[in-house]
């Protein structure tokens, strides 16, 4: 309908950020939550202001290269990674602010539970978590509990400032039916997801609604924290918050707090070091402890292999199970990606990882998965 003024430049949108790996780059679309691999040579055509002069390009590239470029241009336009503009108006489009911040001393808390656990849920949820402004909780149980046990906990959560909660609980038909658990989830609206482990089949028991109320059952047995820490594209988190967090922090442990089955306060339930027990230690003191915060700052840019990986700013991390347990900057053990060949391989059969697998006592787990 209306004419557009001729423009000779294209500019990458500031939320479509190229990340270079050893062999290739990916463009991370932080708004639409997707990524697309592209060759380095394409990214190199853009200048430091993410601008590319199309007219100039036509005079510098040979015909064959131009043909390839036009296909990529088509892709960039279809994905709306770029917009056409003139050099002057491009100045009005700044880069996106890369600061990460969050209004909580602890953004999320994992609480592990087994038959032997003696957690005081009322004190933990109402006082302790509130003292660190923690609004997201994951409760994970390795043994069977009745629905009334979970119901007592959710009642405390319902009356607290906690915004959302995930449950990972054992599926035992003697304790509750899928229908009962679905109804329970529906009537407690802070529940984001319930994962029933040790189940007879993998299925969606209840569909999610606006990101809440999802119930899944999985065959996998989760009877210890050892099954955590998998790295897989399906766990990639492609958004502004995770991306900016990854630039300065560890994407798994930053501002995270964990309470293991015995009440020990840790960075992660799978990690050995305890900073005290919730019986006699305040969460706020642990969170403010500089030693506790150390792992928060291990960035992907410092981790072996990950620093050469194009997925480093959308990938999760794991510091509990790493390739070389002696070196806290070594890559996550359960990552099968090779950024030097751009191939995903099975991590558990990799001969170079066998030593670490033995170190963590994962031989049985690894066999189960196969």
């Amino acid at each position: 309908m209306e004419e557009t003024t001729p423009t000779q430049h294209i500019k990458l949108h500031s939320n479509c950020i190229p990340v270079k790996g050893a062999m290739r780059s990916v463009i991370c679309d932080l708004q639409r939550n997707l990524y697309i691999p592209v060759p380095h040579s394409l990214i190199d055509l853009f200048d430091e202001d993410s601008l590319l002069n199309l007219e100039l390009l036509e005079t510098t590239l040979d015909t064959a290269s131009l043909q390839i470029f036009s296909e990529y241009l088509h892709l960039l336009e279809r994905q709306e990674f770029v917009f056409h503009c003139n050099k002057l108006e491009a100045k009005n489009f700044p880069t996106i602010n890369t600061e990460w911040d969050f209004p909580s001393q602890a953004t999320n808390c994992v609480i592990d539970i087994n038959q032997g656990s003696e957690h005081d849920y009322t004190d933990l949820i109402q006082n302790e978590l509130d003292s660190v402004n923690c609004h997201y909780v994951q409760l994970r149980s390795f043994d069977a509990f009745s629905l009334s046990f979970w119901d007592d906990i959710i009642k405390i959560i319902n009356g607290s400032p906690i915004r959302s909660v995930d449950f990972i609980i054992m599926d035992v038909s003697a304790c509750f039916s899928h229908k009962e658990i679905s109804e329970w989830v529906y009537s407690n609206r802070k529940i984001r997801c319930v994962t029933l482990h040790s189940s007879s089949e993998n299925k969606i028991v209840r569909q999610q609604n606006l990101g809440f109320s999802l119930v899944l059952s999985v065959k996998e047995k989760i009877n210890s924290p050892i099954s955590c820490g998998n790295i897989h594209p399906s766990y990639f988190s492609i958004n502004v918050e995770s991306f900016t967090e990854s630039l300065a922090h560890n994407t798994c442990l930053n501002r995270k707090i964990a309470i293991d089955t015995e009440g020990n306060i840790k960075n992660c339930p799978s990690m050995a070091k305890s900073y005290g027990n919730i019986r006699d230690t305040k969460l706020i003191d642990v969170v403010n402890n500089a030693d506790f915060q150390k792992v928060w700052h291990i960035k992907k840019d410092e981790i072996t292999k990950c620093k050469d990986c194009e997925f480093r700013h959308i990938c999760t991390d794991c510091r509990a199970y790493i390739e070389n347990p002696e070196d806290q900057y070594s890559a996550p053990l359960k990552c099968g990606y090779n950024p030097y060949t751009c191939q995903w391989e099975e991590w558990s059969t990799n001969p170079l990882k066998q030593q670490a697998i033995e170190y963590y006592g994962m031989q049985a787990l690894v066999k189960d998965e196969k």
Binding site: N15, Q31, N92, F93, S104, V240
Partner: protein, 327 residues
């Protein structure tokens, strides 16, 4: 011991997510310990009040049960503020109600001049589009030709020739109706009309509506404004047929590209002047950038939604507001 602390009063509504987000930042800031933070949801009815003015005082003041002198900061976000007629005096006669209502209305209006300082004021809700444009004109801003009509004037029909206009309801674009056992929320989005559409209705009258010249756009700019600070975002709604006229016709599958944007300084200066002249210290401002790089000012929403803008551009607007409340 609580006496010495000053109060931050937040006037909002149940389930207002942005208020919750700002409160998170507020509590996260150690300085919040020095304040009483009070949030009220919904309408505030004031039962006892005295407003006074004296020739020895510069400005009028009020003493009321609600605004205690400890309130250092009042953030108005949602809900009404009005003086209640005590129950025992309520006489259910139409005439009497009419008299008290208009008396009260005057002073309810005046009361808003007397509320504690802060961010926004309940009177900001009362701004009227044409008044805003009168001020915008004085500030030298461009805006689309605008008509408020309940019937089509000859003048308007003349103007419409060969052009398209955008029709909009005047106020909140949604109404609730009861249909059988359902309650239906009707939401009217912005629509394009031309002379042919108008002639179908002409010469009937209709509810007062806004008709605005359609301005071709390269992108739209949504700005959050707070005391002279501008946080802007460009919305590439033009690429998408669904959102060409009104970006609220969301496309969930493929949301419009939204990126941080800096308005040119000359334009910000004019907008700032406009906000000062309207005495509104916080709000959302909509602008259109045309294919010829012209800037058209569209509207101000004094109590705007900023969550979307804040998230997309990583602006931390919620933290900005919390900081403003504490300073």
């Amino acid at each position: 011991m609580e006496m010495s602390k000053s109060t931050i009063l937040i006037h909002s509504a149940d389930f207002d997510a942005s208020t919750n987000d700002v409160l998170d930042w507020l509590y996260y800031n150690p300085q919040s310990k020095n304040f009483n933070i009070k949030r009220i949801n919904g309408s505030i009815g004031i039962d006892t009040i005295s407003m006074y003015i004296s020739s020895s005082k510069e400005t009028p003041a009020s003493v009321c049960s609600f605004f205690d002198p400890n309130i250092k900061f009042y953030w108005y976000r949602r809900g009404a503020l009005e003086i209640l007629a005590p129950n025992k005096y309520l006489i259910y006669s139409d005439n009497f109600n009419h008299v008290t209502k208009s008396d009260y209305a005057d002073y309810n209006k005046f009361l808003k001049e007397l509320v504690p300082k802060g961010i926004n004021n309940p009177r900001d809700n009362e701004i009227n589009k044409l008044k805003v444009y009168v001020h915008a004109k004085q500030c030298g801003l461009f805006f689309p030709d605008t008509y408020i009509l309940n019937s089509f004037s000859d003048d308007f029909l003349e103007k419409l020739k060969g052009k398209e206009f955008v029709v909009k309801s005047l106020s909140y674009p949604s109404i609730s109706i009861h249909y059988k056992s359902f309650e239906v929320d009707l939401y009217s989005s912005t629509q394009l009309i031309n002379l042919k559409d108008v002639l179908k209705i002409y010469p009937k009258t209709f509810l007062l509506s806004q008709f605005q010249e359609y301005i071709p756009k390269k992108y739209e700019i949504r700005t959050f404004y707070l005391n002279g600070i501008f946080k802007s975002m460009a919305i590439f709604s033009q690429q998408n047929e669904q959102t060409k006229v009104d970006f609220r016709n969301y496309d969930l599958e493929r949301p419009n590209r939204c990126v941080p944007y800096n308005l040119p300084k000359w334009y910000e200066t004019k907008l700032h002047e406009l906000m000062l002249s309207l005495e509104i210290n916080c709000g959302s401002i909509d602008t259109i950038v045309t294919p010829d790089d012209e800037f058209y000012f569209l509207e101000i929403n004094p109590i705007g939604q900023f969550q979307w803008l804040s998230k997309n551009c990583n602006y931390f607007i919620e933290r900005m507001i919390a900081d403003a409340l504490l300073h």
